[in-house]
Symmetry: C2
Subunit: 335 residues, 2 copies
């Protein structure tokens, strides 16, 4: 099973296998639409809503796919470790409980109490560190000592699992003109690209990324991975990764483009999508819609677009940063 660490690009078929593999364990999340939004924008938007996935985000798809593939090869570890400020850690804690294995999650001490609580609630061991870099170093260290270290995106099985959100969506959404997903470490977009190539190869695939955390867009422009020294200051927690990896870089370079968005655009769409879809939308998920909105504004004819809503885990402080804005009075549209 060490082939999941190889840097050869994986076959698109792996996404279909992953979808079949995880199906008994996870939700097939709904596709949602908004007549009101479609009327405002003059385009057709379809949302794949992974806020309603187990643990509140798409991350559990990659984690469960990894554990099931290991189990098929009789290599299910007794102990899994990870660092994560959020959704990846939550997904591992939940999955470890389901598989009856031990989980250790390294979290920076500034992580919100409710996320720590949730990991503990699933029975995981939580270790708090001063910085994210320290969390990463320690978790890799334990991994080297026999536990299974699961990186949030630098792993083929994780990428294949993440791609199942798009794959599922394309079972019910016929050939959209474009798909948008948010870019953090690039794992969701890598899987999304593979799923789209497999099922709907003429569909364009775009990344949304915060302008303030645009390491992936910069890397693709420079043809070289660019690394932040410190976690970039965006409200979209899932996009605060320091750098993409060679594994995700190879897929990100094949995208049809990056759309970089401002913080205010992320907040605007967090509010509006929550209002329209009646599900929780984390700012990272709203990046994809902010990007789609910008792209749609440049199109001459009506488009059908799939937006991957990556998750809905928000803490109280993020809520209060988002909801003091009276953006609901400003109806979406192109003026």
């Amino acid at each position: 099973m060490n082939d999941s660490m190889s840097l050869n690009p994986i076959s698109t078929v792996e996404i279909a296998k992953a979808a079949h593999r995880i199906m008994p364990y996870l939700h097939q999340t709904p596709i949602m639409t908004s007549e009101f939004l479609d009327n405002c924008l003059g385009h057709e938007l379809l949302f794949k809503v992974d806020s309603l996935q187990k643990t509140g985000s798409f991350k559990v798809r990659g984690v469960v796919n990894t554990l099931l593939a290991l189990q098929e090869h009789r290599e299910l570890p007794e102990h899994i470790v990870a660092y994560s400020s959020g959704n990846h850690g939550l997904a591992i804690a939940w999955a470890a409980k389901k598989f009856g294995i031990k989980a250790t999650i390294f979290l920076a001490s500034y992580t919100s109490p409710v996320k720590i609580q949730a990991c503990l609630g699933y029975g995981a061991e939580v270790v708090l560190t001063d910085t994210r870099a320290e969390a990463e170093e320690l978790s890799r260290g334990i991994g080297a000592n026999g536990a299974y270290f699961l990186h949030p995106s630098d792993n083929d099985l994780v990428i294949a699992g993440n791609g199942t959100a798009c794959f599922e969506a394309l079972q019910v959404v016929a050939e959209p003109s474009a798909i948008f997903a948010p870019c953090g470490g690039g794992g969701l977009l890598s899987g999304t690209l593979l799923a789209s190539r497999l099922v709907s190869p003429r569909t364009k695939v775009f990344a949304g990324e915060p302008l303030q955390a645009n390491d992936a867009a910069q890397s693709c422009r420079a043809l070289n991975i660019m690394r932040f020294d410190e976690s970039p200051p965006t409200i979209a927690e899932g996009a605060r990764t320091l750098a993409i990896t060679p594994r995700t870089f190879q897929y990100l370079q094949q995208l049809d483009g990056f759309v970089e968005v401002e913080e205010e655009e992320i907040i605007y769409w967090t509010i509006w999508l929550t209002h329209l879809l009646k599900v929780t939308i984390e700012p990272t998920a709203a990046i994809a819609m902010a990007a789609a909105y910008k792209w749609l504004g440049l199109q001459g004819v009506k488009q059908r677009v799939l937006v991957i809503i990556s998750g809905g885990n928000i803490d109280t402080s993020t809520y209060s940063q988002v909801w003091y804005k009276n953006y609901l009075d400003k109806v979406p549209g192109y003026y």
Copy 2:
């Protein structure tokens, strides 16, 4: 069709008919659960989530049932009028568009712009009045002049339609020990009681009501309808009705009880249910959970409880009133 104005109690069978009637037009909304919450409370909670119903609340069930029943009798009106500060108006605006008829909604001028916008977006005419009482008076006046005036709860077809939320839930939830729903005008609870009597007659049915807006609980204690002079000051907008009506009073008197809850309890459960279920929860909907929580704390053995989540329409100012509280740090439980 004027029999829908008679005060004779309606047959429980009307709920099943309504469910069949509205089915092609509306969503069968999901039942959601939270392992985390069940572990915290030591009980089993099932949520019927009408935040995900068309227009974001259960209200559209009653409105669509009414219009379809009228249509069956070739009495579909050309013009429908209503007063409403929220979900009922939104439901009428949406349904009128679907049925190709004119809608006029009377709203107090302090209604949030986003709700006014939503009614206008569905093509309804909106008339702003100084007070809610004036909105009621004017809409009844137009109704008397030939348009169809649709009261938010004082109508048998509305009650039967509202009962379909519980009826649908009881198709998949076997005989819960108790059902909780929030009390505003009493239409949802009347329908819920009838649905429960039809399908699961041993199940207890309870109303949750804000202590600060407890006219229905007071009325049932006094065996006489008590009326507020002014809209009571609760954060739960849907419970700010001045009084129940003789029609709903007859059903409310048959309930197994009222559980009155404080404003802080409503806010606490608005936050926690949003966090756990990943759907928007309006404070009115959280009343039912606040009531269930209080009741469950008094039970000696494990209970299975159905909570009707009435809707998820929240405006920015309510969000900011709710989300400044750091209640997510205070995990639910009985101490």
